[in-house]
């Protein structure tokens, strides 16, 4: 077990390195660099004088962008080993702080989203597998598929217009995570304030996931239901719900575990669009802004940190897999 985990951790190194190399290449080989962007963003408002190359070069030197690419990469790598992700070009804040600000928000949002998706989809998926081609099956398939097909930004726009703007209804706040000054509220008030802010964004993040997960659960359940051991369970005289839940669902959920591992990148990446529309300062927006500002250290850090966390989560799901499924042992893999 321990050797397995150690081995998997070792195997992550090349993967993370690969991600770092790809990100580094994408970021550095692209046109536009932070130095000239910074130099140019000066509006003429203050004064006007010539903008010379020296100043751009100076900024480049300041950022360490004057060295050859491989040297830059080596420097970056050396820093990473000590978990130093550098400071943002944009505001000189430590990158780790910026991510530390954004990550909890994105995680709250996405974990809630995933929870809701799972809570809704698994029962629906399991039920439709038990009654295939029934009314619920057909109806949920079409409804979920339709929801899945709605572009989230469109839905977000519509919901804002209808439920938040005050033109029609004024039920929900439009932006943010919590009201300004909510810190004076008692904790339950604060929680409900946050919840109330998150209804619409989470609704927008959630509705598309039902289709995939419920169909996945359904397929997995259908596969399990036709297994011989289900027949054995029935032959024992077990009640149908017990057959379905204890013998069926338990086995059907095993593949869903692996899915959890692969959900994490999306979770860490946040939803750029929803965060942008609802002004939620999460990872998606941080990433988007960093890309626009060519904030290399932040982009690199987002890519590597989310990769590392994803790999760890995949590892954890694999270990959980072995916990749930006794057929898998690590000694013989």
């Amino acid at each position: 077990m321990f050797t397995y985990i150690a081995k998997r951790l070792l195997l992550m190194i090349p993967t993370i390195l690969g991600i770092a190399v790809i990100t580094f290449a994408v970021v550095h080989l692209a046109p536009g660099d932070p130095a000239s962007l910074k130099a140019q963003s000066a509006s003429e408002a203050l004064s006007s004088d010539r903008m010379t190359r020296e100043i751009v070069e100076g900024t480049r030197a300041l950022y360490g962008l004057d060295k050859p690419l491989h040297v830059q990469f080596a420097v970056w790598l050396k820093r990473i080993v000590t978990l130093d992700f550098g400071t943002s070009y944009r505001d000189h804040r430590p990158v780790i702080d910026k991510i530390g600000d954004a990550l909890p928000i994105t995680l709250t949002l996405n974990i809630l989203t995933i929870l809701i998706i799972y809570i809704v989809s698994i029962p629906v998926g399991a039920y439709t597998a038990l009654k295939p081609k029934g009314f619920v099956d057909r109806a949920s398939a079409i409804l979920f598929m339709a929801l899945y097909s709605l572009p989230s930004f469109w839905v977000a726009m519509m919901l804002i217009a209808l439920l938040c703007s005050g033109d029609y209804l004024n039920w929900f706040p439009i932006v943010g995570f919590v009201s300004d000054g909510a810190s004076i509220l008692p904790w339950y008030g604060w929680v409900s304030n946050v919840a109330w802010h998150l209804v619409i964004p989470i609704a927008c993040l959630t509705y598309g996931g039902f289709a995939f997960l419920s169909r996945f659960t359904r397929a997995s359940m259908l596969e399990v239901i036709r297994q011989d051991y289900i027949r054995t369970a029935r032959a024992k005289g077990l009640p149908e719900w017990r057959v379905a839940v204890r013998h069926g669902l338990r086995n059907a959920l095993i593949p869903l575990l692996t899915l959890m591992g692969t959900l994490l990148p999306a979770l860490l990446g946040g939803s750029v669009i929803i965060e942008q529309i609802f002004s939620i300062p999460g990872m998606g927006r941080l990433g988007f802004e960093s890309v626009l500002a060519r904030d290399y250290p932040v982009i690199m850090a987002i890519a590597t940190i989310s990769a590392a966390l994803t790999l760890v989560s995949i590892l954890i799901t694999d270990i959980m897999y072995a916990v749930v499924d006794p057929r898998i042992t690590f000694g013989k893999r």
Binding site: P132, R226, Q227, D228, Y229, R231, T232, A233, R234, A235, K236, G237, L238, P239, E240, H247, R250, N251, I254, V324, D325, P326, R327
Partner: protein, 330 residues
């Protein structure tokens, strides 16, 4: 009065390509303590018959469309038609009075529970009892079916056991509530020949010990000959011949039974150049059965009559069911 009597049991599979008459009006009876063999080739409806008795026909596509399964549930009082029971009532019969074991011991056990759990589940469900009582019943059952160190083995997961051991566990599970009837659906087909012998011995022993009735579904005439007292031969969803073991093996009257027996290579070197006996042709499509005798196309004794008319149970009056107009010794 027989323990179980099946009357005109009919089970259909409703598929895209038509209605498959998997079990087509099957009638037979089973006495207490009797071992009945059902033989036939793949697709003849023998497994579906067994599943129909348990009301475990996969639905869809299958459905029991007719007949009666009369089970003498109580010593006094009349028999009960299992097909008329509510699901709830039927569940109380399943596992408790009527148990079943399946062909694939590899897949018939739930991989994520220990075998002890899986046996205990049935005991708890039908008989209740404290945890400790149930546990000791589990260990008893495991040792009964010849599993060494049963107390430890109870904590094993199915994948940790060999095929033969798993089939023993299946038997232990089926017998855990001491059912009156055990339906064994090809219990040895997936096993190696040396293990097969072990399991057959075990089944025979336990049947005698428990005094229960056994319905053995198999395609292997050898297995039937060793275990059963009475034999049913099925073809295309119908019983084509029924009789005692001696009758079937020494005096087969239906051409199909005769063909089957001939097709089995004997355990001795045949003279060189000998051709293997075969039954020509293939099993007919159960969804599009021809009129008359389903075996007509492959029958060496076929005559016009066979293709025209439905064959009754015993047209030749030989005193037992032989579904052939021209039943005769080979």
């Amino acid at each position: 009065m027989p323990l179980l009597s099946v009357e005109h049991l009919t089970t259909h599979l409703f598929t895209d390509s038509g209605v498959v008459r998997a079990v087509d009006g099957v009638s037979f009876s089973l006495d207490r303590g009797e071992a009945l063999g059902i033989v036939g080739e793949s697709g003849c409806g023998k497994s579906m018959t067994a599943l129909s008795l348990m009301r475990l026909v996969p639905e869809p596509p299958g459905r029991i469309v007719g007949g009666r399964v009369l089970f003498q549930l109580t010593a006094t009082g009349g028999p009960v038609d299992l097909l008329m029971l509510s699901n709830e009532q039927m569940r109380k019969v399943r596992g408790k009075r009527l148990a079943m074991i399946f062909q694939e011991p590899m897949t018939s056990l739930n991989p994520v529970f220990t075998i002890g759990d899986q046996i205990a589940e049935a005991i708890k469900l039908h008989e209740g009892g404290s945890r400790r009582q149930v546990q000791s019943r589990v260990v008893d059952m495991l040792s009964l079916v010849g599993i060494p160190t049963p107390a430890q083995r109870a904590n094993d997961y199915p994948h940790q056991l060999s095929g033969g051991m798993r089939q023993r566990v299946m038997i232990a599970m089926a017998l855990s509530c001491r059912p009156e009837i055990l339906l064994a659906d090809e219990p040895t087909t997936a096993l190696d020949v040396t293990i097969q012998a072990q399991i057959l011995d075990l089944l025979r022993r336990l049947q005698a010990e428990f005094g229960m009735s056994l319905v053995l579904v198999t395609h292997d005439l050898g297995v039937v000959a060793e275990v059963a007292q009475r034999v049913i031969v099925m073809y295309a969803g119908k019983i084509v011949e029924q009789g005692t073991v001696d009758q079937i093996f020494r005096q087969p009257l239906h051409p199909y039974t005769q063909g089957l027996l001939k097709a089995i290579p004997p355990l001795a070197k045949l003279p060189p150049g000998t051709r293997f006996a075969t039954i020509p042709g293939t099993v007919p499509d159960l969804a599009h059965l021809p009129r008359g005798c389903a075996f007509a196309d492959r029958c060496p004794k076929v005559r016009e009559n066979c293709r025209e008319n439905e064959v009754p149970d015993d047209p030749c009056n030989v005193g037992r069911l032989v579904r052939c107009f021209y039943a005769s010794n080979p």
